[in-house]
Amino acid sequence: MIPAAWYAPLPSFLWQVALHSAIAGVVLYGWARRLRLRSGRSKRHLLALLLVLPLLTAAIPGRTSLEFRERRAWLDSGRLLAIPLVAGVRVSHVVLLVGLTMVALTLWQEVLPALRRSGARGDDAPEPLARLARGLPGWERCAVTLRRADALLLATGGWPWRPRVIVSRGALARLSDDELAMALRHEHAHWQQGRWARSHALFAVRLLQCYSPVALWTFREYCLEVEIECDAAAVAGRDARPLTRALLAVYESTDRRDVAARAALRRRADVLLGDDRLDDDALPVATIAAAAATLVAILPWLV
């Protein structure tokens, strides 16, 4: 049997979130594959749904009793967790190990870099670059910081009332003026139409699920979709080639072992070059709402 502590309120809730997230993830992934769903608004909605919904369905009370699990539930995950593997190890031990690994991964790959970024100091950027950034709507008070690094880096940070653009010396040296301008437009798009607030809200939701591999994957997919959306906003009505060249420059400067980052850059370039197109209206909002309602009705019966 799995330890009784597993059924205490907090561990039980955390496990239910991960379980519902995994099951909803399988369903939505299977559906997206079936539809050959392209990047766009519909995909972003499904990913956001996958991050938020399990927190709601797992919080529905009265489902942890033995009576519910044995007689009413469609699936009692306790049976799967109790499957013996080798030398006294059960599936629940493996699940615990995966959860702890995900927490460590989140701290190492997301929280620490975010803290480092927010605390990093740099020099003032060249005046033309600062002028270019502050010329974008809403960025009149934007801080533009030059990082003493040879790596190709252009990113934003700060808060809506005081955005900050961070550019590395490597980016200034290797990107042309029009490539830099387009990269700035891309970063600026992150602060438009509520994207900053949505991304940060979902990051908070994802941190609550820092032990869940599905939440980790979902949030990274969501971030990639937002990057693709911001690419599209940056090149709207303009030549897409400077931004594509900037992306390829970043791609070439990225370590070959960082397969995930290179794959994401390749996908963004594919969309910009038209090899893979955006489809914001792949699914009607009513369909996504009906799918969400169906999941809300189903998931509480899986405990």
């Binding site: 049997m1 799995i2 009784a4 597993w6 059924y7 099951i23 399988v26 369903v27 299977g30 559906w31 079936r34 539809l35 033995l66 699990r69 044995e70 539930a73 469609w74 699936l75 009692d76 306790g78 049976r79 799967l80 109790a82 499957i83 013996p84 209206d281 792949a282 699914l283 009607p284 009513a286 369909t287 009906a290 799918a291 169906t294 999941l295 189903i298 899986l302």
Partner: protein, 181 residues
């Protein structure tokens, strides 16, 4: 799929969701068939020996059982999770249910409950025709619910003992021929 249909694509979702649900149900039903130990119960067991085998501890049973609880053997139920629990119920002219749980929080009892005189770590109260008694015995919580008179509660508590297959334990004798009270 026509772009004008407001719910276009939903059929595919329902198909995938239905497939996943069927697969999960197969796991729910199939896993205990292959790994019987994965099911927490409750299981109905035929004897105290079987209950002990499943629970990993000897069930506590009272030697004192009045004849009004009936001549037949009690119904025995075992639950393995989240806390291993043993339940024995006698039904005759009177009834007695005894629940023994290893670990976990104390069974709830009303603020009006009081210690049963001469019985350590006990809470006793009356609710309608039923007398309730909660006892702490080592790592176990024992709950007794019966419509026997209140004076019998103390006798039940005093004669509680672990079942033993070899020795002349109270439960062993009781299962075969309950002694009269």
């Amino acid at each position: 799929m026509s772009p004008s249909r407001p719910l276009r694509g939903l059929a595919g979702f329902l198909l995938v969701a239905g497939g996943v649900l069927v697969a999960l149900r197969v796991l729910h039903v199939g896993v205990p068939l292959i790994f019987p130990g994965t099911r927490p119960g409750p299981f109905s067991v035929a004897s105290l020996e079987e209950a002990r085998g499943r629970l990993g501890f000897a069930p506590l049973v009272p030697a004192y059982r009045p004849a009004t609880l009936g001549a037949g053997p009690p119904s025995l139920t075992v639950t393995l999770g989240p806390h291993p629990t043993f339940l024995a119920v006698w039904r005759g002219a009177h009834s007695l249910s005894l629940t023994q749980r290893r670990g976990g929080p104390a069974p709830s009892h009303p603020p009006t409950s009081q210690a049963l005189g001469g019985v350590a770590d006990s809470r006793w109260w009356r609710e309608g025709p039923a007398n309730h008694l909660v006892l702490r015995r080592g790592e176990f919580w024992v709950t007794v619910v019966t419509d026997l008179p209140a004076r019998d509660l103390r006798r039940i508590a005093d004669t509680l003992g672990p079942y033993s297959a070899g020795g002349p334990g109270p439960a062993r004798a009781g299962l075969r021929a309950p002694p009269s009270g």
